[in-house]
Every structure is written in C-alpha cells, then in structure tokens.
C-alpha cells in the first residue's frame, strides 16, 4: 500500500455556479473531498453530473464560486501568475481527447522540451535533454528516435495518449488528474494506458484522481470511489464497498445498468419512461 495518512489535497464546500438570475445553475454543490497522498481515487458520474467542472476547479482552470481548496495543509493561493505556476508544478492533467490536447503546430520534440523547461531544465545541455526525453518515451513504449520531426497527430490515438503519459513522466507532479483517459482509445490499448499510469504512480509516488463515467474502470484502478450526481457526492468509500455493496439507490441503479458477464444482468429493473 502506497498510501500514507497524509492529506495532500482537501476541498471544503466547493461550489460552482453558472449563469445569472433565473438561469442560475449549480454545477457543483458544496462538495467536500479529502485526498490522501498516494491514493488512486475515482469520481464517477454520468454526463451533466458536474465531475468535469469539479476537476477544472481543482486544476485551477476555472474560478471557484464558493469554498476552499487546501493543498498540503495550506490554503491554496493562486492569485498571481507566479503562484499559479508554482501550483501547476504539483498538479497536472490528462484529458479525454488525445488529438485535441496537442497544439497542431508544434512538433513532438517541442512538447517534450517544454516539459523539461517547466521543471527548470531549460539550461541543460542538449545531450542531457535528449537523454531525458528518450527515457520518458521508452517508459511508455515509444521510440524517441522515431518520433523526432513528427507531429503528434501523425500518431495513433493510443500513442498520443501514451505521449501524454511521457509528458507526465517528465513533469513529475504530485497529483495527476486523468479525465476520461481511455474513453477514446481502443479496448485493446486501454489496459496498456491504465497499467502505464499505475506504474508511473509507483515510480514517482503520485496521487491519481480519475474522472470517468465508466464504473467498471473505476473498479479496476481505484482504491476509493466517489459517486457524483447533480453536483453532489452521493456515496463514497472504498471501491469494493461502493461497487459490490452499494447503499444509495442512485449508485445501485448506476451499477445495475452496466452489462455484466460474471453475474446475471437483470434487465427487468428498467423503467421505461421518456
């Protein structure tokens, strides 16, 4: 077990409101979450549950309407650009669509060199940089020599996502937020991506938050699972608890709606409404 009892990230009463007056919507509704160092956690919800908005608030990509985030015990301070850059040295993300995560005008080399620069290695000699990039690429089963001078979109979806993981290898953040990292990848390549992420976590002692709608994925990778509905956490606990013995009706329905192969998949509980 890599977890320690140290809380690395804590959200208290996190809320996000969109719109004004009569069109006000509460995307995230006073959510509390404690993240322990080294854990793998999944936030599971259907589309519209607010999980992506929650993720973006943690990543400091959108502003928070109400609530606080504590990073390593201290209140998170991202008021100035410098402080924000400090924060982003510790938390990084992988997004769902590998194609749109890259700037199509930049070659692969530029992407990796940028990561080295961010870690303060901008002044290192060229050979050292190449060594670091080769190491990162081989960690994700890509050959660096084959990638130079190529654009990211020339690779397959799985390869692009692995390149994202290579990026994380170079950046070595303390927390990684993975937003649906495998939903646009072929089934055959999914296990590769997930295993690489778990290996990376062991290697650099990362804490990982998965955001997904696939409860099976959550069961496979995570220690803890949070079920989100309409901006609130309706159930949370260890993966085995929540998924094998769900208590709340929403969770039960969510799990029963997924086709099963080891047990009987009960189709009779379907309510046929609009």
């Amino acid at each position: 077990m890599l977890e320690s009892k140290e809380i690395i990230l804590s959200a208290k009463g996190l809320t996000k409101e969109f719109g004004f007056g009569s069109t006000k919507t509460l995307a995230v509704d006073h959510v509390d979450m404690d993240l322990y160092k080294g854990e793998v956690v999944s936030i599971v919800g259907e589309s519209g549950s607010g999980k992506t908005t929650f993720a973006k608030m943690i990543l400091a990509l959108i502003s928070i309407t109400e609530g606080e985030i504590y990073f390593q015990g201290k209140k998170r301070d991202i008021r100035t650009n410098k402080k924000r850059q400090e924060y982003w040295r510790n938390i990084q993300a992988i997004f769902q669509d590998p194609f749109s995560s890259y700037n199509i005008f930049h070659k692969i080399d530029a992407v990796l060199l940028d990561c080295i620069r961010m870690r303060g290695g901008g002044k290192l000699p060229r050979e050292k940089k190449v060594e670091m990039m080769s190491e990162a690429c081989s960690f994700v089963n890509l050959k660096y020599e084959e990638l130079t001078n190529k654009y990211p979109f020339e690779l397959s979806g799985g390869q692009m996502q692995r390149l994202m993981i290579a990026r994380i290898f170079l950046l070595k953040p303390k927390i990684l937020l993975a937003d649906e990292p495998t939903s646009m990848i072929d089934a055959c390549s999914r296990a590769t991506i997930l295993d690489m992420l778990m290996d990376l976590r062991k290697e650099i002692g990362m804490t990982v938050i998965f955001i997904t709608h696939d409860i099976g994925l959550a069961y496979y990778v995570s220690d803890k699972v949070f079920i989100m509905e309409h901006g609130k956490f309706v159930e949370s606990g260890s993966a085995d608890e929540v998924i094998l013995t769900p208590r709340k009706p929403y969770t039960q329905r969510l799990i029963s709606d997924v086709p099963k192969i080891y047990e009987e998949w009960d189709l009779s509980t379907v309510e046929c409404s609009t």
Partner: protein, 418 residues
C-alpha cells in the same frame, strides 16, 4: 522558415494566385518607368468627338501626308475601300431602288459589291421619276450616287491650300499612295482607347490600380489589425473588457458606415483628401465584422484542451494567445484581410460617386474610373473600353488574393498536409 516557404509554394492554387498578383504589382511598378505618359493627361479634345475614342493605332493624318509615300498596287484595295464605305443600310436602299426600277429581285445580291455597283451604274438615272418616293429619299439617292462616283474613280484626293484669293491645288494624294507607319513621326497606340475626358485609358488604368491597391492595403491592414486586437481581447479576457468591446462593436455596426464616412470625408475638406487619408478613414470603419467573428472563434478556442494544457504548462497569457490561439484563427483573419482589400476598393468607389473621394485632379482610382464611365453612360453607348478593363482588374486582384488564401490551407492546418 525555408520549410514553410516550401510548403507555401507547394500548392498549385497558391502559385497561380501568386503569379497573377505579382504580375499586376509588377505592371503597376514597371509600366510608369517604361511609358512616359502622365496618367491624367488629356490627349483628345472636345467632349463629344474627343471622348471615348476606341482602342486602336492612331496615326497622325497630317504627318502621314507629309511623310514620303510609297506606291503599292494592291488589287483588292478598291474593293476594301468601297466595302467599308457602303453600309448595309445603303445596300438595302440600292436594292430597293433597283427593284422599283424593274430589275427582278432574285437577280440582286446585296453582298456582292461588284455586281451591285455594276447594276447601279448601268441603271441609275437621277431624273427618273419613281413612284412613292419622298423628296428626301430622292436626294438621298443622289448623294449616294455622288459618293459612289467618287469611290469608283481612280483619281486622287486633292489637297488644297488657301491662296491669296482662291483655293489652289497644292498637291494630290493618289489612291495607291501608302506610307510606312513606323516612318510617321506621330503614331500612338491607344491600347484601351480614351475615356470620357479624353485620357489614355491604359496608363490611367495602371496608375489607378496602383492607387487602389494602396488604398485597399492600407485600409485592409488598419481594419484587420483593429478587428484582430479587439476580437482577441474581448474573446480571451472576457468579463468587463468583453462587455465594453462588444458594446462599441455593436455601436459601430448599427451606425451606417457610409454616413459617417461621408461626414468625415466632408469635414476633412477637398484639399487634404489624399488616397491614404481615405484609406485610413475606410479602415477605421471596416473592422466591425472581423472583430465579431474573431471574438466568436476565440471564445470557442479558449476552452479547448490544448489551451488548458498550455496553461497547465505555465505559459504566460501572451504566449498562449500567440501560439495557441492565433495560428488557429490565422486562416480566417487572412481571409478577412483579403476581403477587406476588395471591399475597401469598392467603398472608395462609393465615396467617389459623391465627390468625397480622393482629389480627382491628382489621382485616379479604379472606383473613380468606373464611376466616370457610368456617369458618362459608357455601357449604353457601347464604349466597353472605359469600364471593362477596370472590372477585369478588380476581379483579377480579388481572385488572385483569394486563390492564394485557399492555396494556403495546408499551411494553416498542418493536419491536412500530405
């Protein structure tokens, strides 16, 4: 850089558009160096006879008579002369007379000049009474006969000089006298004829193209820059900045630009109105739609994954705007710039109609040329050279620029590169 250039010239469309545009530019620059005519110099006199001279090679009659003549005997010279002088109306009139005189109709062929004239010569009698003919018509036939007599003779034309009391014959020009055009001192090729003022259209066109391109370029640069900057600021920064800029944008859309252009043009006054001033004025009003569209695109771009990735990599805002947003909207912005050029040329034309364009005495612009042609009714008079070349040039300029833009697709979007 070299790689980009290679990519840019790889596309056929771009190369064609580039060739046409460079050709026009070179013409504008080199032509005045080779040809010395001042573009606005009036070369033909008079507003009726001197205007809208058709294109052609103009040989000075005075000098051609004074130049050494050569004798050539071309056997169809007489026929050509008669054929050019005898209009279809005249031929039909001759046929009518002959029919009335009793010649069976099927023997008369108006297209066979020789036989027709033979029949006429042998049958025409000025004193003969023809039924149903008006007095005017009779006189017409007499004049026609007289001119035909002149044509059929082989005598030369007499050139008379005024003497002390009477006209004296000073010399005659024979029908077989020819001069070599290159020896005539004053020969002028008016490739596109003259316009309504009597100005040579070709040099005027070249100069006008240059001026219009300048106006288009200046107006386009100003309008696109303002639109780009405001659109980026409004779209990316959002919040209050966005609200203010959108408000100003809507204000400019609502106010009819032509009214403001008129007011500003008028207040600048005739003297200070040069082409650059007009271009600036046009540019200051052309940015509205560019800003709106850029703002919309930036708003959709700023939530994309690669922008978020850039933020997470710690890039400063300026860098994000330059590397993550601008390249993605480059295609649109350059397209807008090209359209601005064409619109500016036409906006200037609208101003010129009202007399609020650049000073007409010092510069010509494509818009002005078109307007003079319209006002002086060139289309209905069939004087195509006064407006067709202008239209072709405007079309070519727009076409070549647009072709270049579409040819650059692969540069704008690396994912499309083969």
């Amino acid at each position: 850089m070299k790689n980009t250039l290679q990519q840019v010239f790889h596309s056929g469309k771009f190369v064609v558009g580039f060739t046409i545009f460079t050709f026009i530019l070179l013409m504008v620059i080199i032509f005045p160096l080779l040809v010395n005519t001042p573009p606005l110099g009036i070369i033909s006199q008079g507003s009726t006879q001197g205007s809208f001279l058709p294109p052609g090679l103009y040989v000075n009659v005075y000098d051609s008579i004074a130049t050494t003549p050569y004798t050539l005997n071309l056997d169809d010279a007489a026929a050509k002369r008669i054929a050019s002088r005898l209009s279809p109306a005249d031929r039909t009139a001759i046929k009518e007379w002959l029919v009335k005189a009793g010649i069976p109709e099927n023997e008369i062929d108006t297209t066979d000049t020789d036989t027709l004239l033979d029949l006429w010569a042998s049958n025409y009698d000025p004193g003969k009474e023809m039924s149903g003919m008006t007095f005017a018509k009779t006189r017409y036939y007499q004049r026609l006969d007289a001119s035909l007599q002149g044509l059929l003779s082989t005598q030369g034309l007499t050139i008379a000089a005024a003497g002390t009391d009477t006209l004296q014959a000073a010399g005659s020009v024979a029908q077989s006298d020819y001069v070599n055009v290159t020896e005539v001192p004053n020969v002028r090729l008016l490739a596109l004829g003259t316009d309504n003022f009597g100005r040579d259209v070709l040099p005027e066109l070249v100069s006008a193209t240059g001026t219009s391109l300048l106006i288009g370029l200046v107006a386009g640069v100003i309008a696109t820059t303002i639109g780009l900057v405001l659109g980026l600021a409004a779209g990316y920064i959002g919040g209050v900045v966005d609200d203010i800029i959108t408000f100003v944008n809507n204000l400019f859309i609502v106010i009819p630009s032509i009214v403001v252009l008129i007011l500003i043009s008028y207040s600048i006054g005739q003297e200070k109105r040069g082409p650059v001033t007009i271009a600036v004025v046009i540019g200051l009003f052309g940015w509205v739609w560019t800003a709106k569209a850029v703002r919309a695109q930036v708003i959709s771009l700023r939530n994309r994954d690669h922008v978020n990735m850039s933020k997470l990599s710690g890039h400063p805002i300026a860098m994000i705007i330059f590397t993550d947003i601008l390249p993605y909207i480059a295609s649109y912005v350059i397209m807008a710039f090209i359209l601005q050029i064409s619109t500016a040329i036409l906006s200037e034309a609208s101003l010129s109609i009202l007399g609020l364009g650049p000073k007409t005495s010092s510069t010509a612009t494509l818009g002005l040329m078109m307007n003079w042609a319209m006002v002086y009714m060139a289309p209905s008079l069939g004087k195509w050279w006064a407006y067709m070349p202008v239209i072709v040039v405007i079309a070519l300029v727009s076409f070549s620029l647009n072709l270049m833009n579409t040819g650059l697709d692969q540069v704008y979007n690396p994912a499309l590169r083969e």
